[in-house]
Symmetry: C3
Subunit: 376 residues, 3 copies
């Protein structure tokens, strides 16, 4: 019954089925609910965080398709198999009590086996012919992006650009793909100096997005779950986008008083026409995976049960191609777009900086986050 | 029971629940009722044209299927009653007999209550956070566009641009959205001086289309019924397009010997690809609301029964957003397009002027209008 | 009973009602019949090739599902006969034995009646208001394109540009639309001088594609069957694309170690968005006619049984339009694209030349062709 408070702490989990509650049941309530005491501390590796991480892992185990977990497994303890459904509460206890040291150890050994490079917020697996990068953030919730996560991704991409990988597969651990910007990270820092922090965040986004614009090898994205905000807007900067049928796509910028990012103001209209693009960018319309596919944001949708197999099958096929042909083909497709996209990125980040730097813009965002928190 | 005559006066308002009837109840029935007092003022309702016009009205009464007939008609001869269904005739009689003074009075009071500005061909309602502009033409049939209607729309838009409206909702009274250019208006003037009138019409279109290209706040269109020619081609210049499931979309330019307008030669291929765009622009293919949505011309389709509610719900949501964010977002999306669209508009109007000014081009148009009239 | 041999000689003409059979009745059966008398004239049709040609035809006769098999087959091993159905072999015998002189005579009279110009690889029919060009290659299999076929097409297009045709209808005889580049032609010449032949082939493609980019009158394509590689990538350079429901579309460039051509690197992303475009260009995803229509590559899909009637009905409608309006409309739609497409074509051909000229690129192609051959 100790679970009770947590469950009730997330009423919208029932009503609205928000991403956190469904995709990572157990984490979100904790996250959104009772951690005001933890928040202020949150430099991201000390004591209390561990619990969150453990929970996060368990959550992945809980994940609906369970599949991405397998795809990317990061956490493969036999304990986890027992980690399921109603017993989640119980499990959480067991975890909190006992398996921390174990999973921690396991995690590291898995990582070391897979790659020579260690990251905190992503997992990088060098595979035959391609590099697999998985979002699995510890410094943010739900794979949301803060400057530190972005820097790791950029570093992994630049590594893949330089080595013999023919392409990059980008996906995520858990049942969420990417929740866009890490607003909590941002807001926590704002009181210090709003102008400076806004500029810093805008700068981080600009560099992050430019990395995608300028990347020369094909990037295939396997969207395992919700892709929100910047997590959705970077998709058109990648080359092929496969989605789990459970994934959904939303860019609710105006809802939290922000303007669009990730070159979505250029790419969304190009892909789906202005009318549909503005429904997403101005009204925050949510698209199912199938709708996103019909509109051209996604290349193909696969059933959750076989998502990882389908992805792996196709990625291996692609990775068997002549790398020169792959790179030249991408260069041809992207030829005219690079400058246009860099400029769009620049403009978008300038507007973001302006809005974040203004009292009104900041208010909108705080109100949004407060509303979210008050919902508990 | 005072409501009675009004309801019967607009049979399609009941049957089809057009957006106008719901969005501006009270206005539509009045408008659809008797306007003989106004008619005589129109310079153009002279002799032979009357018959054609009369047919048009009767046809409208008969429903949208025969709707194209009304495309170019402009007047009201008693002959036409023979075409009307018995019921409609009866209703018309009741109207003509009784509700004239009443509805006229009502009309004006409604208008004055809603807006400080009075227009003849549109209704403008300043609402909380947005301006609602409804096509409801008296100087043309079926909300078709002549220079006078266009000027009123431009004036209303420039008003909305200057005031505190966050956005504009554009729709129409009745069961037709907009039938494109008012060919009868045009043809009536041509005998005077073909070259001059062609140039004048092309100039009117250029300015009208540029108003849409340059408008800074989001424009949402609620397409309540058929959108034809220029009435369809301006849709991509707006930002969000919602359609009643009964609406349909057609740009039959070549049928009446005209070249495309409204930047459709640029925007249609961008939105739906060249193959589909040319089916519309060269072959005049008619799209249902759902097809238009699938191809990206329309953002969403709603059922006729709840169309106005759905529109109003969403528009209020949008109107609650930070206006700076809305305007900046639109500016970002439109950034690269403005010059391209202005040039396309310029080119299209030049070609129109050339075609209208030529004997062959004029012949095609006259033949088309004559064919339409001869069909009765 | 004279008809008999002809009918059986082209079984798919009966079963599938390909556009060729219906659109140019009398031509198709003759063509499909025996042409050994003509063959010897072809420089490349020496001894062993004959068998290959026959096999190729037989394969087609077996149905489209086995069609890829015929894509590249050259290979003329007696083994291949085992692939043919017994019936097909029988039919071939009947053909070879009897109908030669008759069909030859018929063929010539049909051609002379239809057009003043004779081609080897295409059929050109000057019709009321439009020119109908049909691919029906003798110097290549399955309507694939080698420099000679391309030159004929270019010549026919330039003829249609100069005469009073209002538009061009492009289709193909048989059950295949166009299989893209004629790799066998290419490979046969490579041993001579790889660099020179690569440059020559790239040059041929550049000119061929530029002809489409620069053509001023509308081109309507009726895709009767599979459109592969360059046969699919030129479609967006045409204006309206109608497809038989049996047609399919594939650009498996990377599979045979080639980069994309026909401006597909520019037009595919414009039409269907980058994600779907890359699925086709990088992964060679095959689209059904309906999928191609949903993605905007095709304007409309018609049932096989009525395909030719639907096409003819619509083409005649189009051909009744004012030609000035048609040409001006196309000019408006294409205005901004010409330079961009010419540059894209230039880039694509440069890359092709580079890849073909390299040992690795050539190896990929040879491996691919060998694999195809080994499959038998």
């Amino acid at each position: 019954m100790e679970q009770g408070p947590e469950d009730t702490a997330a009423p919208e989990a029932v009503a609205e089925k928000p991403i956190g509650a469904l995709l990572s049941p157990g984490v979100e309530p904790v996250r959104m609910g009772s951690r005001p005491g933890i928040r202020p501390l949150l430099p991201q590796a000390s004591g209390p965080v561990k619990a969150a991480v453990a929970t996060g892992l368990a959550v992945n185990g809980n994940g609906t398709s369970q599949f991405m977990a397998g795809l990317t497994t990061n956490c493969t303890s036999p304990l986890q198999t027992s980690v399921m459904s109603v017993k989640a509460v119980k499990r959480k206890f067991i975890r909190d009590r006992g398996d921390k040291p174990f999973t921690k150890r396991l995690r590291f050994s898995v990582r070391q086996r897979e790659s020579a490079y260690r990251y905190r917020d992503i997992v990088v697996r060098k595979q035959d012919g391609f590099t697999h990068i998985l979002l699995s953030t510890k410094s943010s919730e739900n794979n949301s992006l803060n400057p530190e996560v972005m820097k790791e991704l950029q570093s992994a991409l630049s590594m893949a650009d330089a080595d013999d990988s023919k392409l990059v597969l980008l996906s995520a651990v858990g049942s969420v793909f990417c929740c866009g910007l890490d607003f909590l990270y941002f807001i926590r820092r704002l009181p210090d100096d709003r102008k400076r922090e806004s500029a810093r965040m805008a700068e981080a986004i600009r560099n992050f997005v430019n990395t995608f614009i300028q990347f020369k090898k094909p990037i295939v994205v396997a969207v395992n779950g919700p892709a929100i905000g910047l997590g959705a807007s970077i998709l058109p900067l990648c080359d092929v986008v496969w989605a789990n049928e459970k994934a959904w796509f939303q860019t609710p910028y105006t809802t939290f008083g922000q303007s669009p990012d990730g070159c979505s103001t250029v790419m969304f209209p190009k892909i789906m026409g202005g009318a549909s693009a503005n429904e997403m960018l101005l009204r925050g319309r949510k698209l199912t995976a199938q709708e996103a596919c019909d509109k051209g944001l996604v290349s193909q949708v696969f059933w959750p049960g076989t998502f990882s197999q389908e992805v792996m099958l196709r990625i291996k096929e692609l990775a068997s191609c002549n790398p020169v042909v792959l790179e030249e083909s991408k260069a041809l497709v992207r030829f005219n777009m690079r400058l246009e996209l860099e400029q769009a990125n620049e403009r978008e980040c300038e507007v973001l900086k302006k809005i974040w730097g203004s009292a009104q813009g900041m208010d909108s965002m705080l109100k949004y986050v407060k509303r979210k928190i008050d919902e508990f």
